[in-house]
Amino acid sequence: MSDSHAIAAEAGHDNHADHPPYLRHHFVSMEQQDETVSFGMWLFLLTEIMFFGGLFTAYLIYRNWYFPAFVAGSHQLDIFWGSLNTLLLICSSFTMAMGVWSAETKRHKGLVWSLIGTLILGIGFLGIKTIEYTEKYEKHHIPGHTFDWKGFVNPTPEEIAKGDKPLAPDMAQKTEVYFSLYFAMTGMHALHMIIGIALLLGMLVKAMRGGYMDGHIAFVENFGLYWHFVDIVWIFLFPLLYLISRHQ
């Protein structure tokens, strides 16, 4: 019954020997394999969109509810560090794109240097994030039992000079919601960066040993997609968290 017209079930092997080295046995061609992998990567990015989607939903709701607290909380963030980080991340996306291009055009040096650039920019981003988090820690702006909202009721003279208005106590308490979301969103983003940097390191080592020069660059391409996605998340986080009503 198995010897039907549709399914030739001769016991012989198909032409495994002719396969390119990176073609896994269950794909027909390299082309099919690459497209499949990149489609899989995009689906994974969809799950990431939804993962951050929950946080963005929470953000939008509370921003509408507690707008003054969000303004006050946002003004506590340093726009310089935030802008610098945006710059770093956008540049790292560019270097990553250049890395993919170098791999596509089989430029060994280009690839290595692009990856090193991406790595440095990424680590720089995390370094700045650490500086920012430390500052939050010192100001008792980390949500939880150490959180201190009294500073928002009585801003320091410098803060008033910058245009911050004192908040009513009930609204000042709501700054904890803002900082909860700030840490949840930037924390999740930073976690993605850390994972990305770990993968990047592995890729860099392989690239330095001469990897990815044989046209099999699916990993570089898909890592690039991941890295750009993390960049996009930041593109939204930056205005939403740092730039609320800076004119006030």
């Binding site: 507690y66 009513a168 009930d170």
Partner: protein
């Protein structure tokens, strides 16, 4: 018969008490039941239809009888039939159900308000006259009763199956439900939202009384201080009257007749003053400032219990003139500061959280 006596007893008991629906003890109950019966009938018809089709086809086209199947692609007409007919029926149920939903959750304006606070694991009912009850609720027949619910800790759900009403008690927010009891008797009051260890112990009894019995019950179980009276004391002891006294130079808006009015907030948003608004304005004043006033009111979050808030809300609801506010202001103004003077009184204002 080989039935054991225990099982026999069960069956007899079940036959005797057999009921498919709980007693209909509220005005809305028969209306809900009408829809339930309609849905049950539609479901039965649907189920019987599917059952008949499957059984008939299974008998008619079993292999013995019909050894060779006739391949059929499908039928757009049939497809459309069983898309449109169920859709139509479901839409009828949707409209009918929505109408009921609005009725159940839209209290009539003349409803008598009873506050119910849920906490792990009991229901505390506060009647306007100052009667307190735990895990029981006395209501008269023939009068719409609005229940204003709030939870002190986790989600609870206030459910009276005999009235076909249910509403979640949410921490930090008032929700309402209303009913008009029709038949005197005792009915179950359940917490139906899982709320922790003693969830199944969070049950009570709703006692529906005739209006006369209800009057007797009210008189017999009063604590001597109505909610509004208790609220008045709180109003004074929390020094609300320092600002909200209706005098021309007062820092806060006058609260006389504020309930039910439409206010314009500083945010430019008009708002209807109801219980929920009053509660929020006490706890989160800065978001609820009336136009023309400065945001100087302190928050009372953590300083008043839910019962205290209820008293204050009830007091403000019933405040029709500032005369007594100003009177208390004068007397308290003469007295030296006495933080715990309320508790020294025999019937002190209840509801202030002691630090």
């Amino acid at each position: 018969m080989g039935l054991s006596p225990v099982i026999w007893q069960f069956l007899v008991k079940w036959m005797v008490n057999f009921a498919i629906i709980p007693p209909e003890a509220s005005k809305i109950a028969p209306q809900v039941d009408a829809l339930l019966v309609f849905m049950t009938l539609v479901s039965l018809v649907g189920l019987v239809l599917v059952g008949l089709l499957v059984t008939a086809f299974s008998i008619m086209y079993r292999r013995d009888k019909n050894p060779v199947a006739t391949q059929i692609e499908g039928s757009t007409l049939l497809e459309a039939t069983w898309t449109i007919i169920p859709l139509g029926l479901f839409l009828v149920m949707f409209v009918w159900g929505s109408v009921l939903y609005f009725r159940i959750y839209t209290p009539p304006p003349n409803a008598m308000n009873i506050y119910v606070v849920g906490k792990q694991w009991m229901w505390k009912a506060e009647h306007p006259g100052g009667q307190h009850e735990i895990n029981s609720l006395h209501v008269p027949t023939g009068r719409p009763i609005q229940i204003t619910l709030i939870s002190q800790d986790v989600f609870h759900s206030f459910s009276i199956p005999a009235f076909r009403v249910k509403r979640e008690a949410i921490p930090g927010r008032y929700t309402t439900v209303w009913f008009e009891a029709t038949t005197p008797g005792a009915y179950h009051l359940f917490c139906t939202q899982y709320c922790g260890t003693q969830h199944s112990g969070m049950v009570g009894e709703v006692d529906v009384l005739t209006p006369e019995d209800y009057k007797k019950w009210l008189a017999g179980s009063t604590s001597g201080v109505s909610l509004a009276q208790n609220g008045e004391r709180l109003f004074a002891s929390l020094s609300c009257n320092a600002c909200h006294n209706g005098q021309p130079d007062s820092r806060g808006p006058s609260l006389a007749d504020v309930y039910g009015s439409k206010l314009m907030l500083t945010t430019g948003q008009p708002i209807l003053v109801d219980e929920a608004y009053l509660r929020q304005a006490i706890l989160n004043p800065s978001q609820h400032i009336t136009q023309g006033y400065a945001p100087i009111m302190p928050t009372y979050q953590g300083q008043i219990s839910e019962e205290g808030l209820i008293s204050l809300v009830e007091y403000i609801k019933n405040l029709s003139s500032n005369y007594r506010v100003q009177q208390t202001l004068n007397t308290t103004g003469l007295l030296p500061e006495q933080p715990d003077k309320t508790s020294s009184r025999p019937a002190g204002a209840q509801g202030v959280t002691k630090p």
